[in-house]
């Protein structure tokens, strides 16, 4: 494996989403490490420092993504975090990180809805990694 490749941590409990997104991101030229649950991701983060993390919101718990983002930022404040969910389409609840109020409790750099096109996702990753 190319050691210079940036590592992206991808956490989602939907194995099909994981498979597809991994394939996309690998084609952008990144290395992808996946976890299928908040617990598995926490374990990984003990030894791994990714260059960027993409987290699902609702996994074991409805707020798994938020908790994971919080823990990740506490350990690695400089790692950008994207929360990717379908929660708005499904529940009508909207979250975002555009206001100060939300940024106070949602420890993420970007909030995206699942279903975003691969090239859009690529652009966002590049922006956050400042490449």
């Amino acid at each position: 494996m190319d050691n210079k490749k940036k590592i992206i941590l991808l956490v989602d409990d939907d194995e099909d989403y994981l498979f597809q997104t991994r394939m996309n991101i690998e084609q952008f030229g990144f290395r992808v490490v996946t976890a299928e649950s908040q617990a598995e991701a926490e374990k990984l983060l003990e030894t791994l420092k990714p260059d960027l993390a993409i987290l699902d919101l609702m996994m074991e718990k409805d707020d798994s993504g938020f908790i994971l983002a919080y823990k990740l930022k506490r350990k690695y404040p400089d790692v950008p975090v994207i929360i990717a969910t379908a929660v708005t389409a499904e529940t009508g609840m909207t979250f975002g990180v555009s206001t100060e109020e939300e940024r106070k409790w949602i420890k993420a750099d970007l909030y995206i809805e699942k279903g975003i096109r691969a090239d859009q996702l690529h652009r966002e990753i590049v922006k956050l990694l400042k490449l």
């Binding site: 498979f19 597809q20 394939m23």
Partner: protein, 376 residues
Amino acid sequence: MEKLNVLVVDDEPGICSGISRILSRYTVGFPFMDENIGFDVQETHTGEEAVTIIDVKVPDIILLDNKLPGMQGIEVLEYINKKNLDTVVLMITSYASLELAIKATNHGAHDFIPKPFTPQELKSAIESVTKHIFLRRMTRKLNKEGRQIRFQFLSVLSHELKAPLNAIEGYLRIMEERQAGNDLDGYNKIIERSLVRVRGMRNLIMDLLDLTRIESGKKKREVAPVNLTEIARMSIDTMGPISIQKDVKIHLDAPGEVIIEADREEMEIIFNNLLSNAIKYNIEGGRVDCLIKDEHGAVTVTVNDTGIGIPEEEIPKLFQEFVRIKSDKTKHISGSGLGLSIIKRLARLYKGEISVKSKPGVGSSFTVKFPNNSGT
């Protein structure tokens, strides 16, 4: 005690205080209500004052005299009607004028109390209005809850239906863009996963059909004597392929004939759901025991497995629609999350019930009890 607010609008102080006195000691009760309903009475002598009071807080009941010094009773009624306020108006009329009665009814007056009236006449009018209010409230509450449940069901359902479509669409995109190269072999996993999701969706739709048939009651039920042991055997046969795949052995322990009055198809659904769960959530090389007992016409069907078991805290959620216990062990087991809710509904049609005992890591035991031949 719950109290309804009553506003009395009458320019004769004697009438107002009389009504207050009677109603303050009067309560209305129904056999199906936990407690009686009492009344808080407020008095006013003009239509203008009445409107001011109504603007602050809409009373539950308004006793409205028509003949008032300034603004007439019918005008107050028009005002209430125009603002579409949630209140019931009883008109107090001193002389019976058909014209007024029609006008008042058109403006939403609930009833009339002729003046002069006896305390008994007042009480019975109030009793009827109270019942009306109570029933209206209950109906609204039920409608709202029904809608709420329906809404939740539909939003979860649309998620369950969309998820496989999204997954399959994603896989097709990958193929369309030849992301794994030009060799078809590179797409094996993608094709396999797409087929898994298609199967999952089909099962969900089949379960949904079962569920709506039970719910709507539209399916013609054919209740006749059926032999549960025979249905169990057939169901075990149906489960053959998945039990072989999982290397799970199914044992049947039942008398040759256990006859109950039932719809055959419904019994098949119950057995298929119980057995497929017991296999799906079992360990490789596990065992399923299906026991049927007939105790003086009360029949129990028990299905035991040696599977992963259910954590105690998850058991109360188990029979709700679309609830699937999420854990590392269940992650790769497909299911619609409707099976147990279907069994529960079916069992209820027979005045029966389903219960569960489970120990994580040891196994689960589901029992459906049918009381004495109550097939309809």
